[in-house]
Protein backbone atom coordinates (compact mmCIF):
# COMPACT_ATOMS: atom_id res chain seq x y z
CA UNK A 1 0.00 0.00 0.00
CA UNK A 2 1.13 3.56 -0.68
CA UNK A 3 2.13 5.60 2.30
CA UNK A 4 3.11 9.15 3.11
CA UNK A 5 4.97 10.55 6.09
CA UNK A 6 2.72 12.75 8.23
CA UNK A 7 4.43 14.64 11.03
CA UNK A 8 7.17 12.07 11.11
CA UNK A 9 4.96 8.95 11.12
CA UNK A 10 3.92 6.72 8.19
CA UNK A 11 0.30 6.96 7.11
CA UNK A 12 -1.60 4.98 4.45
CA UNK A 13 -2.47 6.92 1.33
CA UNK A 14 -5.70 6.31 -0.58
CA UNK A 15 -5.57 7.15 -4.28
CA UNK A 16 -6.85 10.62 -5.13
CA UNK A 17 -6.39 12.07 -1.64
CA UNK A 18 -5.75 15.81 -1.68
CA UNK A 19 -4.00 17.89 0.93
CA UNK A 20 -7.39 19.39 1.81
CA UNK A 21 -8.72 15.88 2.52
CA UNK A 22 -5.77 15.17 4.77
CA UNK A 23 -6.10 18.45 6.69
CA UNK A 24 -9.83 17.83 7.21
CA UNK A 25 -9.12 14.30 8.38
CA UNK A 26 -6.47 15.44 10.86
CA UNK A 27 -8.22 18.54 12.22
CA UNK A 28 -11.82 17.37 11.95
CA UNK A 29 -12.76 20.64 10.22
CA UNK A 30 -14.51 20.80 6.84
CA UNK A 31 -12.77 23.15 4.43
CA UNK A 32 -13.98 25.46 1.70
CA UNK A 33 -12.13 25.32 -1.65
CA UNK A 34 -10.19 28.37 -0.42
CA UNK A 35 -8.75 26.26 2.41
CA UNK A 36 -10.60 28.25 5.04
CA UNK A 37 -12.82 26.30 7.48
CA UNK A 38 -16.47 25.93 6.42
CA UNK A 39 -17.51 26.82 10.00
CA UNK A 40 -16.31 30.39 9.47
CA UNK A 41 -13.60 30.18 12.14
CA UNK A 42 -9.86 30.21 11.69
CA UNK A 43 -7.97 27.00 11.26
CA UNK A 44 -4.57 28.08 12.52
CA UNK A 45 -2.54 25.43 10.73
CA UNK A 46 0.06 25.49 7.99
CA UNK A 47 1.25 22.68 5.75
CA UNK A 48 4.67 21.91 4.37
CA UNK A 49 5.04 19.28 1.65
CA UNK A 50 8.52 17.98 0.99
CA UNK A 51 9.98 21.01 2.80
CA UNK A 52 8.00 23.58 0.80
CA UNK A 53 5.03 25.51 2.15
CA UNK A 54 1.73 24.84 0.40
CA UNK A 55 -0.60 27.86 0.79
CA UNK A 56 -4.10 26.94 1.97
CA UNK A 57 -5.55 28.11 -1.34
CA UNK A 58 -3.66 25.24 -3.00
CA UNK A 59 -4.66 22.43 -0.64
CA UNK A 60 -7.75 21.40 -2.60
CA UNK A 61 -5.83 21.09 -5.86
CA UNK A 62 -2.76 19.39 -4.43
CA UNK A 63 -2.98 15.62 -4.84
CA UNK A 64 -0.78 13.67 -2.45
CA UNK A 65 1.87 11.43 -3.97
CA UNK A 66 3.32 8.31 -2.35
CA UNK A 67 6.32 9.04 -0.16
CA UNK A 68 5.28 12.67 0.26
CA UNK A 69 6.66 14.12 3.47
CA UNK A 70 3.92 16.25 5.02
CA UNK A 71 4.19 18.45 8.08
CA UNK A 72 1.04 20.00 9.55
CA UNK A 73 1.90 22.58 12.18
CA UNK A 74 0.00 24.87 14.51
CA UNK A 75 0.49 27.29 17.39
CA UNK A 76 1.50 25.77 20.70
CA UNK A 77 2.68 27.27 23.97
CA UNK A 78 6.10 28.81 23.76
CA UNK A 79 8.26 31.88 23.83
Amino acid sequence: MSTIQLNGAPRPLAAGTTLADLVTDVTGRELLPTGKPADGGRLGVAVARNSGIVPRSQWAVTALQRHDDIEIVTAVQGG
Binding site: N7, V45, T74, A75
Partner: protein, 267 residues
Protein backbone atom coordinates in the same frame (compact mmCIF):
# COMPACT_ATOMS: atom_id res chain seq x y z
CA UNK B 1 -2.07 63.52 34.22
CA UNK B 2 -0.80 60.02 34.88
CA UNK B 3 -3.88 58.50 33.31
CA UNK B 4 -3.32 60.61 30.23
CA UNK B 5 0.33 59.64 30.13
CA UNK B 6 -0.32 55.90 30.18
CA UNK B 7 -3.30 55.93 27.90
CA UNK B 8 -2.14 58.49 25.35
CA UNK B 9 0.99 56.64 24.42
CA UNK B 10 0.32 53.20 23.07
CA UNK B 11 3.23 51.16 21.80
CA UNK B 12 3.09 51.49 18.01
CA UNK B 13 4.72 48.81 15.90
CA UNK B 14 4.17 48.54 12.17
CA UNK B 15 1.30 51.00 12.49
CA UNK B 16 -0.49 48.89 15.10
CA UNK B 17 -1.15 50.50 18.48
CA UNK B 18 -0.86 48.24 21.51
CA UNK B 19 -2.45 49.54 24.71
CA UNK B 20 -0.27 47.36 26.95
CA UNK B 21 3.51 47.43 26.98
CA UNK B 22 3.63 43.97 28.46
CA UNK B 23 4.07 41.29 25.83
CA UNK B 24 3.51 37.79 27.09
CA UNK B 25 4.89 34.42 26.15
CA UNK B 26 2.87 31.28 26.64
CA UNK B 27 5.59 28.74 27.46
CA UNK B 28 5.70 26.91 30.76
CA UNK B 29 2.02 27.07 31.74
CA UNK B 30 0.74 23.75 33.12
CA UNK B 31 -2.79 24.22 31.76
CA UNK B 32 -4.54 26.23 29.11
CA UNK B 33 -7.18 27.49 31.57
CA UNK B 34 -4.53 28.79 33.94
CA UNK B 35 -2.69 30.40 31.04
CA UNK B 36 -5.84 32.16 29.86
CA UNK B 37 -6.49 33.60 33.32
CA UNK B 38 -2.89 34.84 33.58
CA UNK B 39 -2.96 36.42 30.12
CA UNK B 40 -6.17 38.28 30.92
CA UNK B 41 -4.77 39.42 34.29
CA UNK B 42 -1.60 40.70 32.58
CA UNK B 43 -3.61 42.98 30.30
CA UNK B 44 -1.39 41.97 27.38
CA UNK B 45 -2.48 42.63 23.80
CA UNK B 46 0.32 40.69 22.10
CA UNK B 47 1.42 37.17 22.93
CA UNK B 48 3.96 34.77 21.47
CA UNK B 49 3.37 31.19 20.43
CA UNK B 50 5.65 28.50 19.03
CA UNK B 51 4.98 26.56 15.83
CA UNK B 52 4.97 22.79 16.29
CA UNK B 53 3.45 19.65 14.78
CA UNK B 54 -0.33 19.55 15.04
CA UNK B 55 -1.83 17.14 17.55
CA UNK B 56 -5.55 16.79 18.08
CA UNK B 57 -6.80 19.04 20.89
CA UNK B 58 -8.10 17.17 23.90
CA UNK B 59 -8.62 17.57 27.64
CA UNK B 60 -5.56 19.13 29.20
CA UNK B 61 -4.07 19.86 25.80
CA UNK B 62 -1.56 22.68 25.81
CA UNK B 63 -1.51 23.16 22.07
CA UNK B 64 -3.55 22.39 19.01
CA UNK B 65 -6.00 24.98 17.84
CA UNK B 66 -7.07 25.53 21.47
CA UNK B 67 -4.31 28.01 22.13
CA UNK B 68 -4.98 30.02 18.96
CA UNK B 69 -8.69 30.10 19.85
CA UNK B 70 -7.87 31.24 23.38
CA UNK B 71 -5.94 34.22 22.04
CA UNK B 72 -8.61 35.07 19.45
CA UNK B 73 -11.34 34.95 22.10
CA UNK B 74 -9.42 37.40 24.28
CA UNK B 75 -8.57 39.79 21.43
CA UNK B 76 -4.87 39.17 21.89
CA UNK B 77 -2.71 39.52 18.78
CA UNK B 78 -0.56 36.51 18.12
CA UNK B 79 3.19 36.73 17.60
CA UNK B 80 4.56 33.46 16.22
CA UNK B 81 8.15 32.76 17.18
CA UNK B 82 10.96 30.68 15.73
CA UNK B 83 11.93 29.08 19.04
CA UNK B 84 14.06 25.99 18.68
CA UNK B 85 15.69 27.10 15.43
CA UNK B 86 19.48 26.90 15.25
CA UNK B 87 19.98 28.14 11.70
CA UNK B 88 18.69 30.99 9.56
CA UNK B 89 17.26 28.45 7.12
CA UNK B 90 15.14 26.76 9.81
CA UNK B 91 14.04 30.12 11.19
CA UNK B 92 12.88 31.39 7.79
CA UNK B 93 10.91 28.18 7.16
CA UNK B 94 9.33 28.35 10.64
CA UNK B 95 8.43 32.01 10.13
CA UNK B 96 6.76 31.11 6.82
CA UNK B 97 4.74 28.37 8.56
CA UNK B 98 3.68 30.84 11.25
CA UNK B 99 2.62 33.41 8.67
CA UNK B 100 0.58 30.87 6.74
CA UNK B 101 -1.04 29.30 9.83
CA UNK B 102 -1.79 32.43 11.83
CA UNK B 103 -2.21 34.99 9.04
CA UNK B 104 0.25 37.53 10.38
CA UNK B 105 3.54 38.74 8.97
CA UNK B 106 4.84 39.54 12.45
CA UNK B 107 7.47 37.13 13.72
CA UNK B 108 9.58 36.92 16.84
CA UNK B 109 12.89 35.82 15.39
CA UNK B 110 14.83 33.54 17.67
CA UNK B 111 17.92 31.77 16.36
CA UNK B 112 19.75 30.12 19.20
CA UNK B 113 23.31 28.84 19.35
CA UNK B 114 22.92 25.90 21.73
CA UNK B 115 20.49 24.38 24.20
CA UNK B 116 22.51 25.12 27.32
CA UNK B 117 22.68 28.89 27.02
CA UNK B 118 19.79 29.43 24.58
CA UNK B 119 21.73 32.55 23.59
CA UNK B 120 21.17 34.02 20.13
CA UNK B 121 23.65 33.06 17.40
CA UNK B 122 24.53 36.50 16.09
CA UNK B 123 25.63 35.37 12.62
CA UNK B 124 22.54 33.28 11.93
CA UNK B 125 20.35 36.00 13.45
CA UNK B 126 21.70 38.62 11.06
CA UNK B 127 21.27 36.32 8.06
CA UNK B 128 17.71 35.40 9.08
CA UNK B 129 16.72 39.02 9.71
CA UNK B 130 17.91 40.01 6.25
CA UNK B 131 16.04 37.11 4.61
CA UNK B 132 12.80 37.69 6.51
CA UNK B 133 12.74 41.44 5.90
CA UNK B 134 13.26 40.66 2.21
CA UNK B 135 10.22 38.36 2.36
CA UNK B 136 8.02 41.05 3.85
CA UNK B 137 8.04 39.97 7.49
CA UNK B 138 7.91 42.41 10.41
CA UNK B 139 10.81 41.06 12.37
CA UNK B 140 10.97 41.26 16.17
CA UNK B 141 14.59 40.27 16.60
CA UNK B 142 15.52 38.52 19.83
CA UNK B 143 19.14 39.50 20.33
CA UNK B 144 22.06 39.57 22.74
CA UNK B 145 22.40 42.70 24.87
CA UNK B 146 24.96 43.97 22.38
CA UNK B 147 24.45 47.60 21.30
CA UNK B 148 26.40 47.04 18.06
CA UNK B 149 24.37 44.02 17.01
CA UNK B 150 21.09 45.69 17.99
CA UNK B 151 21.87 48.61 15.71
CA UNK B 152 22.83 46.27 12.88
CA UNK B 153 19.50 44.48 13.17
CA UNK B 154 17.65 47.78 13.02
CA UNK B 155 19.63 48.80 9.92
CA UNK B 156 18.69 45.49 8.30
CA UNK B 157 15.03 46.41 8.75
CA UNK B 158 13.95 44.81 12.03
CA UNK B 159 10.62 46.26 13.23
CA UNK B 160 11.73 45.95 16.85
CA UNK B 161 14.86 44.80 18.63
CA UNK B 162 14.53 42.60 21.68
CA UNK B 163 17.70 42.45 23.77
CA UNK B 164 17.82 39.85 26.51
CA UNK B 165 18.07 40.81 30.17
CA UNK B 166 19.55 37.40 31.00
CA UNK B 167 19.38 33.95 29.37
CA UNK B 168 15.88 32.55 28.77
CA UNK B 169 14.21 31.11 31.83
CA UNK B 170 16.95 32.07 34.29
CA UNK B 171 15.02 34.80 36.10
CA UNK B 172 18.33 36.58 36.72
CA UNK B 173 16.92 39.97 35.78
CA UNK B 174 18.85 42.54 33.76
CA UNK B 175 22.52 41.58 33.93
CA UNK B 176 23.85 44.53 31.95
CA UNK B 177 21.64 47.59 32.47
CA UNK B 178 24.29 49.81 30.91
CA UNK B 179 24.11 47.95 27.61
CA UNK B 180 20.32 48.08 27.62
CA UNK B 181 20.49 51.86 28.14
CA UNK B 182 22.99 52.16 25.29
CA UNK B 183 20.76 50.13 22.98
CA UNK B 184 17.78 52.32 23.86
CA UNK B 185 19.72 55.56 23.37
CA UNK B 186 20.70 54.66 19.81
CA UNK B 187 17.60 52.83 18.59
CA UNK B 188 14.90 54.36 16.45
CA UNK B 189 12.74 51.23 16.45
CA UNK B 190 11.01 49.96 19.61
CA UNK B 191 13.28 48.20 22.11
CA UNK B 192 11.61 45.33 23.93
CA UNK B 193 13.42 43.76 26.88
CA UNK B 194 13.03 40.03 26.35
CA UNK B 195 14.09 37.10 28.53
CA UNK B 196 15.62 36.76 31.96
CA UNK B 197 12.91 38.63 33.86
CA UNK B 198 12.34 37.12 37.31
CA UNK B 199 10.02 39.44 39.16
CA UNK B 200 8.13 42.70 38.88
CA UNK B 201 11.05 44.98 39.76
CA UNK B 202 13.05 43.59 36.81
CA UNK B 203 10.29 44.70 34.45
CA UNK B 204 10.03 48.09 36.10
CA UNK B 205 13.81 48.53 35.72
CA UNK B 206 13.61 47.66 32.03
CA UNK B 207 11.07 50.42 31.52
CA UNK B 208 13.08 52.86 33.66
CA UNK B 209 16.09 52.17 31.42
CA UNK B 210 13.96 53.39 28.53
CA UNK B 211 12.71 50.18 26.96
CA UNK B 212 9.44 50.49 25.06
CA UNK B 213 8.02 47.19 26.30
CA UNK B 214 8.84 44.00 28.16
CA UNK B 215 8.35 40.42 27.00
CA UNK B 216 8.22 37.60 29.52
CA UNK B 217 6.75 34.16 30.00
CA UNK B 218 8.29 31.95 32.68
CA UNK B 219 8.22 34.68 35.33
CA UNK B 220 4.43 34.46 35.18
CA UNK B 221 3.66 30.94 34.00
CA UNK B 222 6.05 29.31 36.49
CA UNK B 223 5.23 31.61 39.42
CA UNK B 224 3.41 30.01 42.34
CA UNK B 225 0.43 32.26 41.63
CA UNK B 226 0.57 33.14 37.92
CA UNK B 227 -2.50 35.40 37.98
CA UNK B 228 -1.18 37.49 40.88
CA UNK B 229 2.26 37.69 39.24
CA UNK B 230 0.67 38.72 35.93
CA UNK B 231 -1.07 41.59 37.74
CA UNK B 232 2.23 42.55 39.38
CA UNK B 233 3.90 42.78 35.96
CA UNK B 234 1.03 44.75 34.50
CA UNK B 235 1.53 47.42 37.16
CA UNK B 236 5.34 47.20 37.12
CA UNK B 237 5.52 48.02 33.42
CA UNK B 238 3.19 50.99 33.82
CA UNK B 239 5.07 52.16 36.93
CA UNK B 240 8.47 51.80 35.29
CA UNK B 241 7.40 53.77 32.23
CA UNK B 242 5.90 56.56 34.33
CA UNK B 243 9.09 56.75 36.38
CA UNK B 244 11.22 56.91 33.23
CA UNK B 245 9.16 59.82 31.93
CA UNK B 246 8.86 61.58 35.28
CA UNK B 247 12.60 62.22 35.57
CA UNK B 248 14.26 60.64 38.56
CA UNK B 249 16.40 62.59 41.05
CA UNK B 250 20.15 62.42 40.53
CA UNK B 251 22.13 59.95 42.63
CA UNK B 252 24.13 61.74 45.35
CA UNK B 253 27.02 60.66 47.53
CA UNK B 254 25.84 62.50 50.62
CA UNK B 255 22.47 62.91 52.23
CA UNK B 256 20.27 65.84 51.34
CA UNK B 257 17.76 66.74 54.04
CA UNK B 258 14.19 67.03 52.93
CA UNK B 259 13.20 68.99 56.03
CA UNK B 260 14.57 72.50 56.49
CA UNK B 261 17.11 73.01 59.27
CA UNK B 262 15.91 76.59 59.88
CA UNK B 263 13.13 77.20 62.35
CA UNK B 264 13.85 74.25 64.60
CA UNK B 265 12.50 74.78 68.14
CA UNK B 266 15.06 75.12 70.92
CA UNK B 267 14.64 71.86 72.80
Amino acid sequence: MTQTLTQAEPLVIDGIALGSRLIMGTGGAPSLDGLGAALVASGTELTTVAMRRYSAPGPGSTGGTNLFDLLLENNIRVLPNTAGCFTAREAVMTAELGREALETDWVKLEVIADEHTLLPDALELVEATEALVERGFKVFAYTNDDPVLALRLEQLGAAAVMPLGAPIGTGLGILNPHNIELIVSRASVPVILDAGIGTASDAALAMELGCDAVLLASAVTRAQDPVAMAQAFRHAVIGGRLAAQAGRIPRRTHALASSAMEGRPDL
